[in-house]
C-alpha cells in the first residue's frame, strides 16, 4: 500500500505484473533518475556543505532496512556512503519486503533487527512502538528535526508525545498530470479551482480527447482522489476526524465529497474507457496511456502523486515539456496537500544509529538524494535548486508551502483491512462507487459498514 509514496516500488505483485506487461520493469524506470543526475552534471555530495555535526564512529556497523529497490535504492546508498565517509561507520542496506512491518517482525523474532528501518506509515510507527520495537530518538536527532522540519512533519513522527520517527522522504499526492499537447489543442488552462477543472475537462472533451484516466483497477488511486477532495472541501479538522473514524462515513461531509467526485466520475465520456474501462485500468497504464499516442492519447489528464514521473519515464514523453503538472485544484477554500512519507525509526539503540537518523534528518542527506531525482524531502531547509528539474521544484515547493496544513494519506492511517487491501474495504467500496457513481448513499453505507468492522477489531 505504501508504494503510493515511493517512486520505484512495485505496488504489489499484480502491479509488478502490469509493469512487466507494459514491457518495462520498475528497475529500468528508476534508472531514468540517474539520467537526471548526469544532466545536471553534479556529483552527489560535491557541493554539499556540512550543516550537521556527526560523531566519529570508526568501526561501528549499522544495518538499514527499507523496501526501496532499483534506482531509488541506489540513490539512497549514495546518501549512506556520505554518512560512512563523514563518520567512518560502515552501513549495510537491507532490502525489505512489503509490508515492512511483517518483515521486521520476522527479523526481530530472529533476534537480528536492523539498527534503523524506514517505515512508510504513521500506523506502522505506532505499531512498532506498541510492540516495543522502536526506540525514541535522542536529543541530537530531535534538535535536528526541530531545526529542519515544520511542526506537522515532526508531529506525525511522534507517538504519545515522544519522537520516534524522522521523516526522510515525502510524497506529494495532490498533483494532476496533463499532456501539454492536449491542453494546447483544447485551449485549456491549468485550473486552480474545481470549477475550472471541470471547465478544462469539458474543453479537452470538446477537442476530441477523453479528459481523465482513472486507475480504477487499483483501489488506492481512488482513495487518494477522495482524500484530496475531502481535505479541501471538509477541511483538515474533519479529515482528521474521519481518518480516526471519529465521524462516520455517513456524515454529510462525505456525501458532499462523493457528490463532487461524481461530477467527474459520473460522466462516462470523461473517463478513458468509461467507468468499466477505468475499473480495468491499472495505475501504470493510466499514466502511460495519457502520455502516449501523440496528440490523440487515450486521455488528457491523470491524477496521482509525484511518483507518476517514474511511469512517464516509461513513455517517450518528457516531464516538463510533454508532461506537466498542476496542484490538485481547490474544491473548498484552499487547495489540498495530501502527502505520504517514509520515516527513519531506530530499532536498535546505539550512538551510531542515533547519528544516522540525525544525518537523515539533516538537509545534507536530503540534498544529496534530491539532486539524484525521483525524491522529495519534507525537510524545509533543502534548497529548491537541489531538485533536478522545474517540475520537481514545483512539487517540492507545493509540499513545503503547505506548512502544517498538509495531511497524511487517510487510507494509510486506516487499519489495513479498510485502507490497504485490494478488493476490500475502502478500495472496493470506491471501486463500486466508480462503477455506479449515482449511488452516493449506498457507497457511504458500505464505507461505514466496512470502516466500522475494520476499526472495531483494531485491524
Amino acid at each position: 500500500m505504501h508504494s503510493k509514496i515511493s517512486t520505484c516500488r512495485p505496488h504489489r505483485a499484480v502491479t509488478a505484473v502490469a509493469a512487466l506487461l507494459a514491457g518495462a520493469l520498475a528497475l529500468s524506470a528508476c534508472s531514468s533518475g540517474d539520467d537526471d543526475k548526469e544532466g545536471t552534471g553534479q556529483k552527489p555530495g560535491a557541493t554539499t556543505g556540512s550543516t550537521v555535526s556527526l560523531p566519529k564512529l570508526d568501526g561501528a556497523k549499522l544495518e538499514v532496512a527499507a523496501v526501496w529497490t532499483g534506482g531509488e535504492q541506489a540513490n539512497f546508498k549514495k546518501v549512506l556512503a556520505e554518512f560512512e565517509k563523514r563518520t567512518g561507520a560502515s552501513v549495510t542496506f537491507v532490502p525489505a519486503q512489503d509490508p515492512i512491518i511483517n518483515f521486521l517482525g520476522s527479523k526481530i523474532a530472529g533476534g537480528q533487527p536492523p539498527d534503523v528501518a524506514l517505515l512508510p506509515q504513521p500506523g506502522a510507527i505506532k505499531q512498532a512502538v506498541q510492540k516495543g520495537w522502536a526506540k525514541p530518538l535522542g536529543a541530537e536527532a530531535v534538535k535536528e528535526l526541530a531545526k529542519n522540519y515544520s511542526q506537522g512533519w515532526q508531529d506525525i513522527g511522534k507517538v504519545d508525545g515522544k519522537q520516534y520517527g524522522a521523516y526522510y522522504k515525502a510524497a506529494n499526492k495532490s498533483l494532476i498530470w496533463y499532456n501539454t499537447q492536449v491542453f494546447e489543442n483544447a485551449g485549456a488552462k491549468e485550473p486552480k479551482t474545481w470549477q475550472e477543472l471541470l471547465t478544462a475537462s469539458q474543453a479537452v472533451y470538446d477537442s476530441g480527447v477523453t479528459p481523465f484516466s482513472v486507475a480504477g483497477a487499483d483501489g488506492w488511486p481512488l482513495t487518494d482522489w477522495f482524500e484530496n477532495i475531502y481535505l479541501s472541501q471538509a477541511g483538515p479538522q474533519k479529515y482528521d476526524e474521519l481518518a480516526q473514524h471519529k465521524i462516520k462515513w455517513t456524515d454529510p461531509s462525505v456525501k458532499q465529497a462523493l457528490t463532487t467526485l461524481a461530477q467527474l466520475w459520473g460522466k462516462k465520456d470523461y473517463l478513458a474507457g468509461g467507468q468499466k474501462g477505468a475499473l480495468q485500468t491499472e495505475f501504470p497504464q493510466s499514466v502511460t496511456q495519457t502520455f502516449t499516442g501523440g496528440d490523440q492519447p487515450k486521455s488528457g489528464m491523470v491524477y496521482e502523486g509525484d511518483f507518476v514521473q517514474v511511469n512517464i519515464g516509461e513513455t517517450k514523453s518528457k516531464v516538463g515539456t510533454d508532461a506537466k503538472v498542476f496542484p490538485f485544484p481547490a474544491v473548498g477554500d484552499s487547495a489540498p496537500v495530501v502527502s505520504g512519507g517514509d520515516a527513519a525509526v531506530i530499532l536498535k539503540d546505539s550512538k551510531a544509529a542515533q547519528a544516522l537518523v540525525t544525518f537523515l534528518a539533516s538537509p545534507d542527506a536530503a540534498t544529496i538524494q534530491a539532486r539524484l531525482g525521483g525524491y522529495l524531502s519534507p525537510n524545509k531547509n533543502v534548497p529548491l535548486t537541489a531538485y533536478p528539474n522545474a517540475v520537481q521544484q514545483k512539487i517540492a515547493k507545493a509540499l513545503i508551502e503547505a506548512g502544517d496544513d498538509f495531511r497524511f494519506d487517510m487510507s494509510d492511517q486506516a487499519p489495513q483491512a479498510f485502507g490497504g487491501t485490494p478488493g476490500k474495504g475502502e478500495w472496493k467500496d470506491l471501486q463500486d462507487f466508480l462503477r455506479n457513481p449515482g449511488d452516493v448513499a449506498g457507497a457511504q453505507a458500505k464505507l461505514e459498514r466496512d470502516a466500522a468492522a475494520a476499526y472495531g477489531n483494531g485491524g
Binding site: 485549456a188 472533451y205 476530441g208 483497477a217 468499466k276 478488493g423
Partner: protein
C-alpha cells in the same frame, strides 16, 4: 520404505534371533534410513499442519485462546463466503471441463495421423508456470481489443455484422442549437427554406474523422430548399473559435446523415458532403432537423471478461487451457490399455461410433477418468496464482477463492488467526478427496 518396514515385522524364513528381515536388514538400520524422511516430513508437513490448527484457535495478535471465533468469521465474512461459492464453481466446472476436453482430445488424436504432434501442442501449456499463464491470460482478456485477443476476436465478429459510426462522442458544444434526442441530436427550432442552418458539434478526435473531410463552409441559401452545414466547431489550440460559424481550420462532418422530422415522422433526409454542407428539399420546410443516433454509435468495446460477472468463468477458462493437456495425456495412456478386441467386437455387433464411445470406451476408461478428475479437484481446491494474477484489483473480490482469501487475510490484512482457520478448512475439504484416492489406490494394489 513403509513396505520394507512392514516386511521387517513379518517372520523371515531363516531369521536368526528374529531381528533381521527378509533382506537381512536390522530394524535399527531400517529406522536409521527412515529417519531423514520422517524428520523432514515431520518438520515440513506434520508440524506446520499441527501449528496451523493451534494457530486457528488463537487470536490475530498471536496470543490467547479464542475458541471457535476464527471459524465463526470463516462462515460469516462476506469475502470468505464469495470465496467459498467460487471454490464450489471451480471444483464443479474446472475438473469436469478439463477432463471432458482431455477425453475428446485423447479419443480423437488416436485416429489422426499427426496425433502425437497435436498432443504435444495441447500438452505444452503444462510446461508453463501458473504465473506465466496468468500473465498471458491477463493479456488475452484485456478489455482493449488492440491488446486482448479475446476481445479482438469478439469485436471483429461483432463489427462484421454491425458497423460502428464515424462520429462517436460528437456532442453539442456551448450554446448549441442542438439538443440530445434518444442518442442523436435534434434542433431546438424548426428550419425554414432559404435560411441556412448551422449544426455545429464538437468532440470528434481529428484522427477519427472519416476520409474525405474538407474545410467546412457555410451553406449558401437556396430558395425553396433547406440548406445547412454540419461541422466540427472546434479550432485546435483555440477552443471553439467563433461559436456557431465555421472557422478556417474547422472541418465538415462528411457523411453525416440528417433527417427532417415533422411530428415524429421523417419527411426528408440527406447526407452531408465533404465540406459538411447538405441540401434538403422543400418538404423539410418547417421541420426540425435531426442527426439520428446511428451517426454517433460508440465503437463496440467487446466484453469485459474480467468484470465482476465473467471473471471466474474467464479464469476457469485459463485453467482449462493449462490442464486439458494433462488430462489428455493421462487418458490417452489409459486408452492405450483398453483392449482393442472389445471395441472391435462392439463394432462388429453393429454399434455406431458414438455408441462405442459411450458404452464401451468411457466405461473402460472410468478408473482413469476418476483419477484425473480427483487429481484435478485437489489441484483446483488450492488454486491461487491464476486468480491472483488474472483478476484485476477491482474484481479480485468477485473472483476470490479460499486460497487467495487465506493469503489476503494472513499477509495483507494481518489476520493470521482467520487465515489459519481457512487453511484448516481447506485441509478438511481436501481430506475426503484424498481418502477416496488412497482407497482406490489400495484396491488397485490388491488387484
Amino acid at each position: 520404505m513403509a513396505s520394507a518396514a512392514a516386511a521387517g515385522a513379518a517372520p523371515g524364513p531363516a531369521a536368526p534371533r528374529g531381528r533381521k528381515s527378509v533382506t537381512g536388514t536390522r530394524k535399527t538400520v531400517a529406522a536409521l534410513f527412515l529417519l531423514p524422511a520422517l524428520v523432514l516430513l515431520g518438520a515440513l508437513v506434520v508440524y506446520p499442519i499441527g501449528y496451523s490448527v493451534v494457530r486457528s484457535f488463537a487470536g490475530n495478535s498471536g496470543g490467547g485462546f479464542v475458541g471457535f471465533d476464527n471459524y465463526e468469521t470463516l462462515f460469516t465474512d462476506d469475502g470468505i463466503r464469495t470465496a467459498l461459492k467460487n471454490n464450489v464453481l471451480w471444483v464443479v466446472f474446472a475438473p469436469t471441463v478439463a477432463t471432458a476436453l482431455g477425453l475428446v482430445f485423447a479419443v480423437l488424436t488416436e485416429r489422426v495421423r499427426w496425433g502425437t504432434a497435436f498432443k504435444l501442442v495441447v500438452f505444452m501449456p503444462m510446461a508453463i508456470s501458473m504465473l506465466a499463464a496468468g500473465i498471458i491470460f491477463r493479456l488475452v482478456y484485456d478489455q482493449d481489443p488492440d491488446k486482448g485477443v479475446a476481445n479482438a476476436v469478439w469485436v471483429g465478429v461483432h463489427d462484421t455484422f454491425a458497423q460502428s459510426s464515424a462520429f462517436p462522442k460528437a456532442h453539442p458544444g456551448r450554446k448549441s442549437p442542438l439538443v440530445a434526442d434518444g442518442g442523436g441530436f435534434v434542433t431546438r427550432d424548426t428550419v425554414r427554406a432559404g435560411q441556412p442552418v448551422a449544426l455545429p458539434l464538437v468532440g470528434v478526435a481529428p484522427d477519427r474523422l472519416p476520409d474525405g473531410v474538407r474545410k467546412a463552409v457555410a451553406a449558401k441559401p437556396e430558395p425553396g430548399k433547406v440548406t445547412g452545414t454540419t461541422w466540427q466547431d472546434f479550432t485546435r489550440g483555440k477552443g471553439v473559435g467563433r461559436l456557431g460559424a465555421p472557422d478556417p481550420s474547422e472541418v465538415g462532418y462528411a457523411g453525416m446523415r440528417i433527417e427532417a422530422v415533422k411530428d415524429g415522422e421523417v419527411v426528408a433526409s440527406a447526407t452531408a458532403s465533404g465540406d459538411g454542407t447538405f441540401t434538403l428539399p422543400a418538404a423539410a420546410d418547417g421541420a426540425r432537423l435531426r442527426l439520428p443516433a446511428d451517426n454517433f454509435r460508440e465503437p463496440y468495446n467487446g466484453v469485459s471478461w474480467l468484470g465482476p460477472a465473467l471473471v471466474t468463468p474467464a479464469i476457469i477458462g485459463a485453467y482449462v487451457w493449462m490442464w486439458a493437456g494433462f488430462a489428455m495425456v493421462l487418458i490417452a495412456a489409459g486408452l492405450a490399455g483398453v483392449p482393442r478386441e472389445l471395441l472391435e467386437a462392439a463394432r462388429v455387433d453393429g454399434a455406431s461410433e458414438w455408441q462405442v464411445f459411450r458404452k464401451v470406451t468411457v466405461p473402460l476408461l472410468a478408473p482413469v477418468l476418476a483419477v484425473v478428475v480427483v487429481t484435478l479437484m485437489i489441484n483446483v481446491l488450492k488454486v491461487f496464482d491464476l486468480v491472483f494474477i488474472i483478476a484485476p484489483g477491482s474484481s479480485q473480490d468477485d473472483a476470490n477463492v479460499l486460497a487467495l482469501e487465506l493469503y489476503r487475510k494472513g499477509f495483507s490484512e494481518g489476520q493470521p488467526g482467520v487465515a489459519s482457520a481457512i487453511s484448516v478448512f481447506l485441509l478438511l475439504l481436501v481430506i475426503p478427496v484424498m481418502l477416496f484416492n488412497i482407497r482406490r489406490l489400495r484396491r488397485e494394489v490388491r488387484r
